[in-house]
């Protein structure tokens, strides 16, 4: 589990709860690794688990999953919360899991409903492939919709304040990077102070919520991962357990903050939102 972000914590909580409900709490020992979001830490975390002679590795998020896959271990790996375009590239036989597909274009459409976007700040981490993939997708969309992408490359969560202080954009896009989401509260608060709307691909569960979030429920992904783990514990090889894409996409509109920032109230967004924060 990369970093310590609410989204993955909730996913893990649902994973453990499911194992408990299914009667696996007493005979399964869980060792948790929360590496800092960088390639060396991910790799070290995987190696520690291999050294601990674990029977199975569960990964949350694309970078941790890819690191585990690249270690070329034979231990079964069950991933959860992996951005689907990245998950599609994982071909190892010992790997299965649950990915999520959230169209970046939908977030842009809803964002354009609440404000005029001429320049979009995209906060990403170069070391996280899902985050880079989303940046590339946004650059492609910028040509279609006629806005400029301002790349904001975050190297450390504590740099968020400094990085945003000199970037003046109409809106900020928070990619699904773990490192970026470790700084999500700061990013949202700085943007709010500057009356700049934010959009995000991961819901804040316990922290601050962006103005618009299109996200797959973490709990559901955690439960699905647990189901796959149970199958493996019961002797079914990972290669026979089909990887799947998760359901339960949520569209969250933070109307309270949108009102406070004087944004347009988009009827499409109000109608379509699965959750409205008032």
């Amino acid at each position: 589990m990369t970093g310590n972000i609410p989204y993955y914590n909730e996913m893990h909580h649902a994973f453990v709860s499911k194992l408990q409900r299914e009667g696996y709490a007493d005979n399964v020992k869980i060792i948790i690794q929360k590496p800092y979001p960088d390639p060396i830490s991910w790799s070290n975390a995987v190696r520690k688990l291999v050294a601990a002679d674990v029977d199975l590795i569960v990964t949350y998020g694309a970078p941790a999953t890819l690191s585990a896959v690249r270690e070329r271990i034979k231990i079964p790996i069950v991933y959860s919360g992996v951005y689907e375009p990245i998950a599609k590239g994982i071909k190892s036989k010992n790997v299965t899991g649950i990915s999520f597909r959230v169209p970046v274009s939908s977030l842009i459409r809803y964002l354009r409903g609440v404000t005029t976007v001429s320049s979009l700040g995209v906060i990403y981490n170069e070391a996280e492939e899902d985050s880079v993939h989303q940046l590339m997708e946004l650059m492609r969309l910028s040509e279609q919709y006629g806005f400029e992408v301002e790349k904001i490359r975050l190297k450390r969560p504590e740099d968020a304040n400094r990085m945003l202080s000199y970037k003046k954009t109409d809106a900020i896009f928070i990619t699904s990077s773990s490192l970026v989401n470790m700084a999500a509260d700061s990013i949202i608060n700085i943007a709010k102070a500057n009356r700049v709307p934010t959009v995000s691909l991961l819901s804040g569960t316990t922290g601050s919520e962006a103005i618009i979030t299109l996200s797959v429920k973490p709990g559901e992904q955690g439960e699905k991962a647990a189901e796959k783990v149970i199958k493996i514990l019961n002797g079914i090889p990972a290669e026979r357990i089909q990887a799947e894409s998760s359901r339960g996409t949520e569209l969250i509109f933070n109307m309270k903050e949108a009102n406070a920032m004087g944004l347009r109230l988009s009827m499409d967004l109000i109608t379509e939102a699965t959750r409205i924060i008032k």
């Binding site: 597909r101 959230v102 169209p103 274009s105 939908s106 459409r109 969309l141 279609q144 919709y145 299109l214 359901r247 996409t249 569209l251 009827m267 499409d268 109608t271 379509e272 699965t274």
Partner: protein, 340 residues
């Protein structure tokens, strides 16, 4: 032909004639068409009398083409709207039309949005509606259950007055056939829509899926065509169904969407939204409503209203137009007569 009543203003003998314009519609019609009596009034040599008669005639014609006359027994018309899109947008489209009809008919035309498609039949009766703009399936249902009569429907800006049902997915979903749809999430508009449900069920049945509960992991209803399209776009559902007009309107608003969605199946054309009215309304009123609607495009004010409504003009509608909907319902295994 009705007897021609006399009138003070043109020197005719019937003292009740003027009040007739505010009285029953039948009397007004009688005035205009009693050619024999009119002719007899111009046979005299009295030029002054002839002038009076001409003025009188003009006056009556003016009465007849103006909205001043009313339908004594009908105080207002209550027209229902199916919530086919965002209700705020929908009311913005229909309000000018209602105002125009009110002015032309001399009767207040009120609009009411039915809370959802499914309760159309019950609400039509319980709220004593005089008519409603029904989509194809509900129009069929209303013709059978409420004995309403289709009178007119708009011709859309693209020159069509029909609508098709689409079944669509995201292009990156990997869904290309009914086999790929297994265990996916389907989104419908409402059970009582031809393009947003009935066609989709017919398609599934024709392709071997008779039990949607077991074939799909989940299905739900959005209540509007727009929402069904957005649900698939946002990946909140895998497979969607909606009417072609709504689908196209979303793409017109944002052409980039065309690159994200893929239409997998298209239904045959069925009538688009159609105004159906109670069969027991006064025949003259029914005729007049139809006349006003069908002639809107010849009137500058009417043209403006049509523009706001998003139509070129209204065209005549009849029961026979709805045969494709009956056929579709049959393929979907839906017996319209048995629906409660």
């Amino acid at each position: 032909m009705k007897m021609l009543p006399d009138c003070h203003s043109c020197g005719s003998r019937n003292p009740d004639a003027v009040s007739a314009k505010a009285g029953s519609y039948t009397k007004g019609i009688g005035f205009l068409f009693s050619q024999e009596t009119l002719d007899s009034r111009f046979h005299g040599n009295d030029i002054f009398g002839a002038k009076l008669k001409i003025i009188g005639l003009v006056f009556f014609i003016l009465i007849l083409i103006s909205p001043l006359y009313a339908f004594s027994e009908q105080k207002e018309l209550l027209i229902g709207l199916i919530p086919e899109e965002n209700i705020f947008k929908q009311m913005d489209r229909y309000r000018p039309l209602a105002a125009y009809l009110s002015e032309k008919l001399g009767i207040k035309v009120r609009l009411t949005i039915l809370s959802k498609y499914g309760d159309v039949i019950d609400r039509f009766a319980s709220r004593r509606m005089d008519g409603a703009f029904f989509e194809a399936f509900t129009a069929n249902l209303a013709m059978v259950k409420l004995n309403v009569e289709p009178i007119a429907r708009p011709m859309n800006l693209d020159g069509t007055s029909t609508i098709k049902g689409y079944i669509f997915v995201r292009k990156d979903s990997g869904i290309k056939s009914i086999k790929d749809m297994k265990d996916k999430i389907v989104v419908f508009v409402d059970k009582a829509t031809a393009t947003g449900y009935v066609f989709t069920i017919a398609f599934f049945r024709e392709n071997g899926v008779r039990d949607i509960d077991s074939y799909f992991s989940e299905y739900y209803f959005t209540g509007s065509h727009d929402s069904a399209v957005y649900a698939v776009l946002d990946n909140r559902a895998d497979i969607g169904s909606a009417g072609s007009r709504f689908y196209q309107r979303i793409i017109d608003k944002d052409p980039a969407i065309k690159n994200e969605l893929q239409i997998l199946a298209t239904s045959q054309e069925v009538p688009d939204i159609t105004l159906c009215i109670r069969r027991d309304l006064p025949p003259e009123l029914k005729l007049r409503i139809k006349e006003v609607l069908l002639n809107m495009d010849k009137d500058p004010t009417g043209k403006e209203v049509l523009k706001k409504f998003g139509a070129l003009r209204f065209i005549s509608a009849g029961k026979a137009d709805f045969k494709p909907v009956f056929d579709l319902a049959k393929k979907a295994g839906i017996d319209i007569i048995e629906i409660r």
